[in-house]
Amino acid sequence: MASVELKNVAKSFGRVEAVRDVSLTVEDRELVVFVGPSGCGKSTLLRMIAGLEEITSGELMIGGKPMNAVAAADRGIAMVFQSYALYPHMTVAENMGFALKMLGTEKAEIDRKVAEAAGVLQIEELLGRKPRELSGGQRQRVAIGRAIVRQPDVFLFDEPLSNLDAGLRAQMRVEIARLHERLRTTMIYVTHDQVEAMTLADRIVILNRGRIEQQGSPLELYEKPANRFVAGFLGQPKMNFIPTIAGRSQAGTTLAIAVSGRTVLKLGEGVPVTDGSEIELGVRPDTISIAGPLADLAVPGRIVVVEHLGGSSLLYVQVDGLDQLLTVEQRGKADFAKGQEINLLFDTGQSHLFDGGGSRIGSG
């Protein structure tokens, strides 16, 4: 059991700065997910915590002890890799017991711990097999089992599910969540998959270009993204971004589509925008509703593509003055057809406003 503390940690590979000035505390027993696009530095950060990558500058503490100069084997961590990284010539049982064997643990004790971990993961019948005789999902279980057997202070997961197919990934995601419930150990989980991040995390840390963009609980980040990057990264389907111009008059503040000049949203009082400023309006697909043609502030558009998902439909709508199609998510089994003209209505309370630099101004 231990917390993990990073103070102004940075990593450069030659001239390339992979991680810049990251400060972060992972509390004891917390499950924190590092998420971000590829190349954002999330894996490098995890590997520095593991001791597989030297820390260029800054300080790393695990359980309150400085770890910068401590060998990976002595940090009290266990890691699950994307490629599973099982030892190919060893059986499953030998793989799981290897770390303990290296520590000089007695054979009977190793066997007991391996059997216990195998029980948790329901892989008892695989113990005598070699990794090459296992399926991807089974290999991943063994890799997790190998981590459990060590009883580490901190579990590190480096994109552990990205090599699995979609169905298995969803299943293993639930199992990792249950494992965290059961073990109550500090876990740090790296992924580029925002669904994994949203479903697993106590706290999400969103990284971009080696920096932390925002951290917080999944819902916090979803509902109050600090900037355009976070807003665009979290959420499936992705948030729509509409370039608008703010207009202030006695009637209130409104936003109009920059190109067409059509007013699309009336803002509440106290939103700090100046007349004529460029505002990027962020609207999640599931907050857009469809209205009659006479509704106030309705935006007319034409459906270009319809994706029927069963319980809901995704409409890709061409709106006058916008380069990109707007994505609209409609619950229920309503019938929409390609080419159909519809009117969209944005919800002031669930809209996000970003300034020219991409920072959040507020919600409508």
């Binding site: 990976a72 084997a73 002595d74 890799f81 990284a85 030892y87 290296m102 190998r146």
Partner: protein, 291 residues
């Protein structure tokens, strides 16, 4: 139907015929020769049974050559593989100039045996040799060591030269084997075990074991049948101190023109080589040779 399952031997003929022509026929002819008295100066090739074998085996020359060849092989083959492994492990690391060092290590490979021999004669030369010079400068010796002219040192010297020529090939194959190991597996090992030595023993070695066995077999054969480098360095001397079995094949065949006896020695070499291969693959079982 002309399916492959129906006439397996027939389908294999295009591949087997050249093998038969280029390998089996000469070997069979050599075996036939070893059982006959085939001398250039005497016409007729009468069957003599094992007489050729008896004669070569009973000569002192054979005893010296066999002993030297065995010592040469038992020293050279393991040394090549052990040093090759150490160098390969070292070169796997990335460091400043590692690419240059990698290229330099391969250099001995491109030199013909005779040129390597000239190089090493100069290294071991009693008066102008680099080795004696260095040892003298370090005040480790007072007088020059006669590397190539004292019987025991001469054998050690030719082993060193031979090992030097064979290392690059071993390094290349071992680096290929090492680079085949999943880097995440090595990282997992680094997290599981602090000792680099133990990680090599339990994780790396099993992964490159098949390659090591191949290299030991290959180097045992190369050393046991070695000829050019040693001949160019010492001519088999002083006396018979560095005389190898391959020399006797040459001597019987092309010096005495007794091809029957030459072939007999050649077949003894083949037989001992076969025993060596079996012994090595038995001692180091790996997936490669059907464990």
């Amino acid at each position: 139907m002309w399916t492959i399952k129906r006439f397996p031997a027939l389908w294999l003929l295009p591949a087997l015929l050249p093998v038969a022509l280029m390998t089996l026929y000469p070997v069979a002819y050599a075996f036939w020769t070893s059982l006959h008295s085939v001398m250039l100066l005497f016409p007729g090739e009468p069957f003599v049974g094992l007489d050729n074998y008896k004669r070569v085996v009973s000569s002192n020359y054979f005893h010296d050559a066999l002993r030297n060849s065995l010592v040469f092989t038992l020293l050279a083959a393991p040394l090549v593989v052990i040093i090759g492994t150490l160098i390969a492990l070292f070169l796997q690391r990335r460091f400043f100039g590692s690419q240059v060092v990698r290229s330099i290590v391969l250099l001995p490979w491109v030199l013909p045996g005779a040129i390597s021999a000239v190089l090493w004669i100069w290294v071991f030369h009693p008066s102008f040799g680099v080795l004696n010079g260095v040892l003298r400068d370090l005040h480790l010796i007072d007088s020059s060591i006669p590397w190539l002219t004292s019987p025991r040192l001469a054998l050690v010297s030719v082993v060193i030269a031979h090992v030097w020529t064979q290392i690059p090939f071993a390094v290349v194959l071992l680096m290929a084997a090492l680079s085949g190991i999943n880097s995440e597996t090595l990282e997992a090992a680094a997290i599981d075990c602090r000792s680099a030595l133990k990680r090599f023993r339990y994780i790396v070695f099993p992964e490159i074991k098949a390659m090591i066995v191949v290299l030991i077999v290959y180097n045992a054969l190369t050393a046991f049948t070695s000829y050019d480098l040693v001949y160019a360095m010492t001519g088999g001397g002083p006396g018979t101190a560095t005389t190898l079995l391959s020399f006797q094949i040459w001597r019987e065949s092309f010096s005495m023109y007794d091809f029957g006896s030459g072939s007999a020695v050649a077949f003894i070499v083949v037989a001992i080589s076969a025993v060596l291969i079996v012994a090595i693959t038995r001692a180091l079982p790996s997936d490669l040779f059907g464990e």
